[in-house]
Assembly symmetry: C2
Homo-oligomer: 161 residues x 2
DNA sequence: TTATTTTAGGACAGAATCAGTCCTATTTAA
DNA sequence: TTAAATAGGACTGATTCTGTCCTAAAATAA
C-alpha cells in the first residue's frame, strides 16, 4: 500500500487529458505538453503514461501529431483504476499474501483488520471517478479565484506554446 | 502512508502483551519472550518497543525481571495509535504537506481526495481498539480450532521456556 | 524515400526507506 | 558485584522510489 509520486502524477495527467478534450473532439495531448502543464518531469511522466496505456485507460498515438487520449469517458474511469494501473494492486495486507496460512498469534485478526482498513481506503478511490475529481476542482476554482473557464491559464499557456 | 513490518510487529507485540496480562495482574513480558512467541526478530522488536514506550503505550521496566507492560487497558489503545507510534503519522497526502500552496492544476482536488481516502483508512484503525482486535482473534480461534483458552499453545511454550 | 516527430521500452543510477543487526550504555534485582 | 534486562546509536544489505538516458519503432510530412 502506498501512493507514490508516480500515482499522483498519473492522476494529474489524466485530469489534464480529461479537462483538455472539450466535449466531442477528443484531441491527443503530448507528454511534453502535459508535463509542462502539470510541472512534472517529462521522462518520468512518459513511463507513467506507458502504464496507463497498457492498462487501457488511455490510447497512445505515435508519430508526429500523436500523443495520448483518454480511452474512455471520465465518468467511466475511477481514481483507483488509475493508481493501480501505475502502482500495481493496492495492498498492505501482509501475512496472508506472503504465506496463506499465517502463523502469527493473532495474526489472522490483524490481517482481517488491515484488509478492512484497506477497504476503507479503496472504497473512496473506487467511488470517485475522474469526472468527479474534475468537478471538484471546478468548484474549488470558481469559488476561490475568478477563472471560470474550462482550462486554467497555465493550461492555455502550455497549449499555445 | 504505509504499513510496514515494524507496524505489523508492533501490533502483534501489543496483542501479545494484552492477552498475556490476565485480569488484574499486569505482568511484564520480556522482548525475548514476545519475539519468540510472535516469531519476530528480537532486536528489531526491541527497537519497535522503544517507540511504543516513548509514545506512552507501554511501560518499560529495566533490569532483571524487567520487560514491558501495557500502560493502559486494551480498550483505551487504538490500533492507529500503535501504528503511528511506530511509523509516524500516517499520511499519503503529498502536495499540501510539501508545499502549502500546491501548484498542481487540479492538485487541490486531488489532495482533498487523498485526504478523504486516508480518512477512510484511519477511521477503521481508530475505531478498532486493541481489545477489539483480541476479541476478534478469540472468535477466530474458538470457531476454527478447539483451543478455547486465553493463551494459545505457542504462547504457553514461550512462557514456560 | 527521407527527415521529423512522437511514443515504447530497457538499462541505469542516486536517494530514500525498510528491515534488521550489533555494540555499548544504563538500570535494576538478586 | 554480577547478571539480566532495556536504551540508544551506528551500521548494513536489500528494496523501492524517482527519475534520466538511449535506442527502437511508428507515423506523418516533405
Amino acid at each position: 500500500m502506498q501512493i507514490t509520486r508516480a500515482g499522483e502524477y498519473g492522476v494529474l495527467g489524466m485530469m489534464y487529458l480529461a479537462r483538455r478534450d472539450d466535449g466531442a473532439a477528443r484531441k491527443t495531448a503530448m507528454i511534453d505538453e502535459v508535463s509542462r502543464a502539470e510541472k512534472v518531469p517529462k521522462s518520468f511522466l512518459a513511463k507513467i503514461f506507458q502504464n496507463l496505456a497498457r492498462a487501457g485507460l488511455v490510447k497512445s498515438v505515435r508519430g508526429a501529431g500523436g500523443g495520448f487520449v483518454l480511452a474512455k469517458t471520465p465518468t467511466e474511469i475511477t481514481v483507483l483504476e488509475i493508481v493501480e494501473a501505475i502502482e500495481g494492486k493496492i495492498t498492505f495486507q501482509r501475512c496472508k499474501q506472503d504465506k496463506p496460512d499465517c502463523k502469527h498469534i493473532g495474526g489472522c485478526a490483524l490481517c482481517g483488520l488491515f484488509e478492512q482498513a484497506q477497504g476503507g481506503l479503496t472504497d473512496v478511490l473506487t467511488r470517485t471517478t475522474l469526472d468527479d475529481l474534475i468537478k471538484r476542482q471546478e468548484r474549488i476554482d470558481t469559488t476561490h479565484d475568478h477563472s471560470a473557464g474550462r482550462l486554467s491559464n497555465s493550461q492555455k499557456d502550455a497549449i499555445v506554446r
